[in-house]
């Protein structure tokens, strides 16, 4: 009998998970601090005088001075930042200069629209991109590989605003298959605002929860085109990455082992290789999701989508710095949260990452 060292008992899979969340929260705090700092500095550096946009150009010097004191702009820069930080921690992102509304409530109204669109877009990208990438990887050089390559290249290189306009022209203007710009038809818009219980701000979810299925269908018809457009861009990226990850895994020796065991090809690809492909793919999907969440300004503009991207752009053009800062902070929170989630998922999928 030969002597063999025993296998060390593995700690629970959940413990490193808690670590992941803990360190993730710390990262979140640090990242947001940095983000606030950078956006705050930028807001001060840009040659835009927020007071002028509040008071108008014809304000007297005395009025101007009074406003400067009232808004605390005479304080030293570090103190202004400290005040901003303290308020932000308490959930006060300031008041929008344009609308005189609290930035937080405005952003809270806009963010669900972006979330809904980005989620659906990512879903579309994953559902089409992953199988397309696998198809291309299992038959490199074949017709299907070429088709996936060309379709993907088009997704990369065609300007989104052009695709969006053509899409609207064809599917809304000519064929009338989908709803036009906006999240709902005007009549449903009123209904949503005044008759429905609003749970999440996401129309698809809220209308379903209210059991208003005709409104749900209407919302689908409005979101399908912009979501498909965003999904196309994300599909282009995801399919390319899936292809290269999959080709790499399929050349590994453990794939030969699976074949030696007599496993059918679908199981070799979709179970043995796919579970390994998922490890890097999770990061790719999370990144492309975050990219869509950051606000696809062009898409939101073309489709009159009242999301975060168009909110920040409008605010920027109106020199509404509190709104720009607030929007940026929310995007930052979403970004870091997604990263944290993908980190946790990654640990669940790859046993080697749990050490």
């Amino acid at each position: 009998m030969v002597d063999i060292a025993p296998v060390p008992r593995r700690p629970s899979r959940l413990r490193p998970l808690f670590w992941g969340v803990g360190s993730g929260l710390l990262t979140l705090a640090l990242t947001l601090l940095g983000l606030l700092f950078v956006t705050f500095i930028i807001a001060r550096i840009v040659p835009i005088d927020p007071l002028l946009s509040i008071l108008g150009e014809r304000a007297t010097t005395a009025q101007y001075e009074a406003a400067r004191l009232a808004y605390g702009l005479d304080e030293p820069m570090w103190k202004q930042f400290a005040i901003y930080l303290w308020d932000a921690v308490q959930g006060d992102l300031g008041t929008s200069i344009r609308t005189r509304e609290p930035v937080l409530s405005e952003v809270a109204e806009r963010f669900p629209a972006t979330l809904e669109l980005a989620t659906l877009g990512t879903l579309f990208g994953v559902i089409t991109g992953v199988p397309a990438g696998v198809l291309a990887a299992t038959r490199p050089g074949s017709i299907s590989d070429q088709v996936v390559r060309v379709v993907g290249l088009l997704g990369y290189s065609m300007p989104v605003f052009w695709l969006g306009l053509i899409g609207l022209l064809v599917f809304y203007g000519k064929l009338d298959w989908v709803g036009g710009p906006g999240r709902l038809d005007a009549s449903y818009q009123m209904m949503m605002q005044f008759q429905m219980e609003q749970y999440t701000g996401m129309i698809l979810v809220d209308s379903a929860l209210n059991g208003a299925w005709d409104m749900f269908a209407n919302a689908i018809s409005h979101i399908v085109l912009p979501a498909a457009l965003l999904g196309y861009v994300s599909m282009a990226y995801i399919s390319r990455m899936t292809r290269s990850f999959m080709m790499n895994e399929l050349s590994q020796e453990y794939i030969t082992t699976a074949r030696v065991k007599g496993m059918p090809e679908w199981r070799v690809v979709w179970v043995h290789a796919m579970r390994n492909v998922l490890v890097p793919l999770i990061t790719v999907i999370a990144l492309s999701y975050a990219y869509l969440l950051e606000g696809s300004v062009l898409t939101e503009t073309i489709f009159a989508w009242p999301g975060l991207g168009s909110y920040i752009t409008d605010a920027l053009f109106a020199a509404d710095m509190p709104a720009v800062l607030g929007g940026t902070v929310v995007v930052g929170v979403a970004f870091v949260t997604l990263n944290m989630l993908s980190d946790i998922l990654y640990r669940l999928v790859d046993p080697r990452a749990q050490a």
Binding site: I4, V7, P8, T256, T257, V260, K261, G262, V279, P351
Partner: protein
Amino acid sequence: MSLLEVKNLRVTFATETGPVEAVRGVSFSLGRERLGIVGESGSGKTMTGRSVLRLIRPPGRIEADAMSFDGVDLMAASEREMRALRGNRIGMVMQDPKYSLNPVMNVGEQLTEGLRRRDRIGRTEARAKAIAALEAVQIRDPERVMAAYPHELSGGMGQRVMIAMMLIPEPDLLIADEPTSALDVTVQAEVLAILDGLVRDRGMGLIFISHDLRLVGRFCDRILVMYKGKVVEELEAKNLAQAQHPYTQGLLNCLPRIGGARGPLPGLDRSGDWAKEGA
């Protein structure tokens, strides 16, 4: 009747600069015995082993005048028929368990996969069989190894798992492709002893592929020596010292001997006609 019959096997890879012949006309037959295939890197020994399982991926192509396993024509068999042979009747142990085991599946899952998916055996029974297989390769704590992931195993342990996995369906033929090259010398001996015992007990045929001529000489009944895709010599292991071919003699002379003269080892003399292109 022999278990495996190979006549004039050729493996070619189509590359941009024309076809590359990895195996150029190899013939041998195998009963329930232990056959060693020896040769240097690139001699075609691994490709010969994988051809038997028809596991050469495109752009590689397998051709042979005849290749049959226990009456089944391997050249004419459908992919479905091949899958029925693979794992079930022909197994293969590869060089390095670090790469040949799936890194994200635990050992138990990989061991029972064949039983559960192909043979449709229930979870409990498959698990019991897997544990018995781990015990057969002298793993003392099979329960724990079942729950482990490949990166948590040592090389020797990983190779035992690999052997156990291939022996679960009790195949008639096992192809061992440099099964100990990635292991420490002390572990090599243990793994070889385990492999030897199992092959003897179960009366399997074995193709043992290695670059280590002396190891193969000790371990096998018969030896094929390959060079540049061809069999240059076939001989009984016990007659190894009387090898005729200059390549085989060269390989034997390259090995140091304890107590032998010190100084540089002789290199392989490739000036003879046998080493010329197209020979």
